[in-house]
């Protein structure tokens, strides 16, 4: 124990959720099964977010639903998921394997405020540790995104969900807006416990040989290192706004421990890792933890918590 005093502390608390480290598996990434999510924890993740779940199962869009581009990839999965009830055994499997070591947050969505509320209560029934309202998926018409672009809708949505659950409620924001701070204010006003940002940027790839969009859904969402500067800016702008007091979870293009620090300095309390596991593999989590510890030691810091907001002038 005495020795441990010199090992920097990576634990953080996010909206009341205790995490052994600030790295979570992002929603929609290697998290369709309990075993995969448990594997991410084994590789070092401090927590996981499930694939976005809806009341009914969804098959998603037909292939191709992914295309690689410079600096990332464009996906249009179309929110495939086995439905919340169909996901029960995955959660159970996850919990059996991880034994409370790493919280699990359920990402949910619907096609109306009522559906979001029902999905949230159903998800709570699965025994998860928190809810992430996906108000930002650009890949399914009438779902997700349209509930995350209008402050008035956001307030109502969050308020209704909060009224029916005791779980911490996070709201995932889109960068496809001219003013993410206003959206964040709405999230807070609705009573949410935290903000997650960013989801993907609406994008597309056209193949010039066949003169057609590659993705079956035509357009999709850009993720990966290409969007990191946009994500960092979004987190920074929200963290800098003095009236936004709920914590922010940063996501978008994180692939190294340096990227984690950048997001945290911008104002994130924790982060999520998505696309980069496609090249770094799931052991990116272990690599990042090593890097974070070394950085803290090298700069004489005791805890990763000290990093949050360093560059955003938060608390200055």
């Amino acid at each position: 124990m005495a020795d441990d005093a010199t090992v920097p502390d990576l634990s953080v608390e996010f909206a009341g959720i205790k995490l052994s480290n600030p790295l979570l598996l992002a929603s929609g990434i290697a998290d369709e099964t309990g075993a995969s999510m448990a594997r991410a924890v084994k590789e070092g993740a401090g927590g996981v977010v499930t694939k976005s779940l809806s009341i009914q199962p969804r098959q998603g869009h037909p292939n191709p639903c992914i295309v690689e581009v410079e600096g990332g990839l464009i996906n249009a999965m179309g929110l495939p998921n086995p439905g919340i009830e169909g996901f029960r055994e995955e959660i159970e499997h996850y919990k059996k394997k991880t034994r409370g070591r790493a919280p699990i947050i359920a990402s949910v969505f619907g096609s109306s405020i009522e559906e979001y509320v029902e999905a949230s209560t159903l998800a709570e029934g699965l025994g998860v540790d928190g809810l992430e309202l996906n108000g930002s998926c650009p890949n399914a018409k009438g779902l997700g995104l349209q509930f995350g672009q209008d402050p008035v809708v956001i307030i109502e949505l969050v308020r209704e969900v909060k009224a029916r659950t005791t779980l911490p409620v996070l709201f995932k924001l889109t960068p496809n807006t001219h003013d993410i701070v206003t959206l964040a204010r709405a999230v807070q006003e609705g009573g949410a416990d935290g903000i997650v940002a960013i989801n993907t940027l609406q994008a597309m790839k056209i193949d010039i040989m066949t003169a057609r969009p590659v993705l079956t859904n035509t357009t999709g969402g850009l993720s990966g290192p290409a969007i990191r500067p946009v994500g960092v800016r979004c987190v920074f702008e929200m963290a800098r706004a003095p009236d936004i007091r709920i914590p922010i979870m940063g996501v978008g293009g994180i692939s190294t421990w340096e990227d984690v620090i950048e997001y945290m300095m911008a104002g994130a309390t924790a982060v999520q890792v998505g696309t980069s596991i496609s090249w770094g593999n799931l052991n990116v989590f272990g690599e990042m933890k090593k890097g974070l510890r070394a950085f803290l030691m090298g700069t004489g810091r005791r805890s990763i918590k000290d990093i949050t907001g360093l560059a955003a002038g938060v608390g200055h």
């Binding site: 990434i29 290697a30 099964t33 292939n63 998921n81 193949d207 057609r212 090249w279």
Partner: protein, 278 residues
């Protein structure tokens, strides 16, 4: 994604054809390991995973051997020279070979169009100077693949068909049982099985080799969307077949409770594997 014109379509057997392309990014494909796969986009139809069954030649070409079992595979088998398809990859982890050939024997166990995955691996094994035994199974003579290539790459090729119309009558696992029966425990330690075929066949191979002292690598299949390890649709007991596989070691396969039992449908739901996929 590289979109290319099909350079040739070679009929191989009943309902099976090899689609040839000449990739521009040669360096990328020269580094391919047998057992890796590509995602093939048939514009307007679908994008599906395909093993690479041929690689080389001049101009440098890549072949995929496709069995017509549905919309995408039918479209692939119906392609003509000059048609456009898209390729991304190669993805996943391929077969591994003993570092030095010394005293090693590699047994290929191939069933049906699974041979598309093993053929390149067995050719590579021969090229590396390993002693090879090729056990090739098919429904019947009309669906037996790559006769010429098998025979050029090994002096010990044994065929078996469900109906006995080519080679013996029976299952390829029968051949495997016979091949490993007489091996001493010392020989077993230097024997490696490479296998691909319908999942029930792979389950038989697994059960046959469990505790035998013989190593084995299995090329598995699951429904794939991204092919690069992010979407989890190819999930198999916590392994993503596209990135952690498609080639897995016996020790891994033995711990896969879902193997031979379940796969995931398009929504990620666990559904029973009704007999073989094709």
């Amino acid at each position: 994604m590289e979109v290319l014109r099909v350079s040739n379509v070679i009929p191989e057997a009943r309902n099976i054809a090899t689609v040839m392309i000449e990739p521009k990014d040669i360096a990328r494909f020269k580094a391919l390991r047998p057992g890796q796969f590509v995602m093939v986009w048939v514009p307007g139809v679908d994008e599906v995973p395909m093993s690479v069954s041929f690689l080389g030649g001049s101009p440098f070409s890549l072949g995929m051997t496709v069995q017509d079992i549905g919309e995408a595979t039918h479209a692939l088998c119906s392609l003509e020279k000059g048609d456009l398809i898209g390729i991304r990859g190669p993805y996943g982890k391929g077969f591994r070979f003993p570092r030095s050939p010394e005293g090693w024997m590699v047994i290929g166990v191939s069933g049906g169009v699974g041979t598309a995955s093993t053929i390149l691996a067995m050719e590579e094994a021969s090229r590396r100077g390993l002693r090879t035994v090729e056990l090739v199974g098919a429904r019947d003579n009309g669906s037996l693949l790559f006769r010429g290539r098998w025979e050029r790459s090994s002096s010990d090729v044994r065929y078996i068909t469900d109906d006995g119309s080519s080679g013996r009558q029976g299952f390829v696992t029968d051949l495997l049982r016979e091949a490993i029966g007489p091996l001493t425990s010392d020989e077993r330690r230097r024997t490696m099985v490479l296998t691909c075929g319908p999942e029930p066949m792979l389950v038989s191979v697994r059960d046959l080799l469990k505790g035998s002292g013989i190593g084995c690598q299995f090329s598995l299949e699951r429904f794939m969307k991204c092919g690069i390890g992010v979407c989890d649709s190819c999930s198999l007991s916590g392994h993503r077949v596209c990135q952690d596989g498609p080639v897995f070691a016996l020790s891994q396969v033995l711990r896969m409770e879902e193997m031979g039992m379940f796969h995931r449908d398009r929504s990620g739901r666990k559904v029973p594997l009704k007999e073989c996929v094709r």
